[in-house]
């Protein structure tokens, strides 16, 4: 995120696209609603009338996969009505010339046909965003989990730059990242192409520096970009990948086209899983190593707004469980790599991070332990106060200018047909967390959301002979699943929604990837639905 979460309260207009923060980041609601209480306008673009959209002043109910059309149409209106920030464009950006040409076919009237959002509302939203003193964009996986995810994110940045809505309080382009430390994991190089601090593995100088720090021969650090999660499953099915170590992931439930994923994991010569619970993926493992939970360990976490915070251990690990860093050090010791893993404590690890990751250089153990509310990176020196708002004066480009990169609508990988007439989109519900490995074990949460459901509009239900509360068979080109019908006016005709916290959903989803970010298109699949024989009631509600 370019701005802190708390800074949403300073915004005069919040454009939320592809985020259902009320269910998935409930705490964010606090500051968004504070902004609204001051009189800010809230614009929400989502295929469903989610709890996030309930509070919207302008609701843009778009068809899944048409985000670029909507964003381009907003920019069409802004260019047409000259609502852009000419000074910002002139002083801080390049490439704006191509934008007018790229969005000329995206008039609100044309966009209405593609997105199903009324043209007048598109124009209203464009005016509200562009003319607000400070306007922020909040986005999440609704825009990223597409084969055109990268382009959609670029388009969010285009919109912000066009209107100069970045680099000041209450503005910015703010991806709401998921888990408490997913930002930290990326910062630490838990990606296929970079070392900590986004330093590329392909750079020989970087490799030499890390080899020196870790006390290992430079040739042991590969210069090759690795495989991402979905690519690993594909490689395992092909037999190109033979062994896997999985930490805190449950790909059998969480990854798309999950029958294929299960097949891949079953084909491996060796699978080890580091987990809190016996998840569906851990059940396939040769070895399961018990990991400590959040309350049983100490160290730092980096939140979605780049805020590095210290947390202390509350209780001792149960049974044989160990914190992840100790499990990794033990594995390294047994593999003869103990010299490179000479850490006695989490403080030792953080000291190395300070040395090797420039943006974390000033976030020392002593300092972060004492800080209230954490320190946002970049924080290059121990005296540096941290950087709550990015790009206040320049962008991270050699000339300091933001590059406007026009993009065009791309059709989803799978489109509806006579055989598969409905758009299936997937997401989350407030009661469950990711693959449900933890939350499906929690009574209070399971009672409130006990089983897989499919949300559909009353007329869709009527068309396919489906009764609320009865079981449905859902079929895509990849397989079939059972779910309970939840007839609802929160979703449009022709679109159905399933949460992915239960094992069956991802049997149905598409494993086509965004060519750049390699994120799978969880948000659009073509499906058909039919009532189950005998309308049998499932257990639970």
């Amino acid at each position: 995120m370019t701005n802190p979460i708390t800074d949403f309260a300073n915004s005069d207009c919040l454009l939320v696209i592809g985020s259902n923060f009320a269910e998935n980041h409930p705490i964010v609601s606090r500051w968004v609603l504070d902004a609204k209480a001051r009189g800010a306008s809230l614009i929400v673009a989502d295929p469903r009338l989610t709890p996030t959209a309930w509070a919207a002043d302008i609701f843009l109910p778009l068809l899944p996969g048409t985000d670029i059309t909507l964003l381009n149409s907003l920019m069409y209106v802004i260019l047409e009505e000259k609502l852009y920030d000419s000074a910002f464009i002139a002083e801080r950006t390049t490439g704006i010339e191509g934008l007018r040409e790229a969005v000329k076919d995206y008039s609100p009237e044309k966009a209405e046909k593609a997105t199903h959002v009324p043209a007048e509302r598109i124009a209203q939203a464009a005016r509200a965003y562009a003319s607000a003193e400070a306007a922020a964009i909040l986005y999440c996986m609704g825009v990223t989990q597409h084969t055109c995810g990268t382009e959609t994110v670029i388009d969010c940045a285009n919109l912000a730059m066009l209107c100069g809505q970045i680099g000041r309080p209450g503005t910015g382009v703010n991806p709401l990242r998921g888990q408490d430390n997913v930002q930290g994991a990326c910062d630490m190089g838990a990606l296929v192409n970079v070392f900590p601090g986004y330093q590329p593995v392909a750079d020989a100088e970087v490799r030499a520096r890390f080899a020196g720090a870790w006390g290992c021969p430079v040739e042991t650090l590969s210069s090759k970009v690795g495989l991402t999660v979905v690519e690993m499953a594909h490689a395992a099915v092909r037999g190109d990948l033979r062994g896997m170590l999985i930490m805190g992931e449950n790909p059998v439930v969480g990854d798309p086209n999950s029958k294929h994923v299960r097949e891949g994991l079953e084909r491996l010569d060796f699978l080890a899983v580091i987990e809190l619970f016996m998840s569906e993926s851990a059940e396939l493992a040769d070895v399961v190593l018990p990991a400590a939970s959040f309350a049983e360990k100490r160290g730092t976490k980096t939140a979605t707004d780049r805020r590095v915070q210290w947390f202390e251990q509350a209780i001792k690990p149960r049974g044989e469980a160990l914190p992840d860093w100790q499990i990794l050090c033990e594995l390294a010791r047994r593999l003869g790599m103990h010299k490179a893993f000479r850490y006695e404590s989490v403080e030792d690890v953080l000291v190395e991070i300070n040395r090797m990751t420039p943006s974390y250089a000033g976030i020392t153990p002593e300092r972060v332990m004492r800080s209230v509310g954490g320190i946002p990176w970049p924080c290059p020196t121990p005296e540096h106060p941290g950087t709550p708002i990015l790009y206040t004066e320049r962008f991270s480009k050699p000339d300091g200018r933001g590059v406007v990169t026009p993009v065009k609508y791309q059709a989803p990988f799978e489109e509806t047909s006579d055989e598969y007439p409905l758009v299936l989109t997937t997401g989350r519900v407030v009661m469950h967390y990711n693959s449900g490995a933890m939350t499906r074990r929690t009574r209070a949460l399971r009672q409130r959301e006990p089983e897989l459901f499919l949300q559909l509009h009353p007329s869709t239900a009527e068309r396919f002979g489906i009764v609320d509360g009865h079981m449905i068979q859902v079929t895509t080109r990849r397989g079939e699943a059972r779910a309970k019908a939840r007839v609802s006016r929160q979703i449009d005709e022709g679109v159905v929604f399933m949460p992915f916290h239960f094992p069956d959903t991802n049997i149905l989803t598409v494993d086509a990837l965004d060519p750049k970010a390699k994120i799978p298109e969880y948000k659009v699949a073509a499906c058909r639905i039919a009532p189950m024989n005998g309308h049998e009631e499932s257990e639970g509600r």
């Binding site: 800010a40 306008s41 006016r489």
Partner: protein, 179 residues
Amino acid sequence: MTKVIYMDLGRCIYCRACEVACEREHGGISHMFVQLIDECYAVPMNCRHCEVSPCTLICPTKAVHRETEDAVTVDSMKCIGCKLCTLACPFGVIWPDLFNKVSRKCDLCLHRTRQGLDPACVATCSARALAYGEFGDIIASVQTKPATTLINRAAGKVGTVVTMPWFSQGPPAGNSRGR
């Protein structure tokens, strides 16, 4: 000085964390019930601790009684499980504990509020839809909020469009969304 739990209906996001927190504080039974109305209005319902409380009036054993100035509670040793209080409650927020055969209800988290802490539902509310405090203070803040919005809008500080609830526009062409 009466302290109350106040709910700001415009802020409730139906996350139901208050229910789960209440369950944790009260042996697995929640006394908070978030209702979803018309699929887009969430209302956290809990005991209003009525000044003239039908539950205390109807209780034959005086098990349901006013424990403090603010809180109506159940003395489970006196409760005979007749469930009259659940019938009398105009809000339907008193539920029988079917295992112990007694009525259970919101006790305003007296074990917490006596230590100066907020009730568990309020402390856990991520959207700050729930607040706990002196009645007068809360009502004053409720009045301040729309006044602030009004003046900010009038001064052109925020919200350059007039707020237009999405549902006032009716179903658009090609979109059959009902409300």
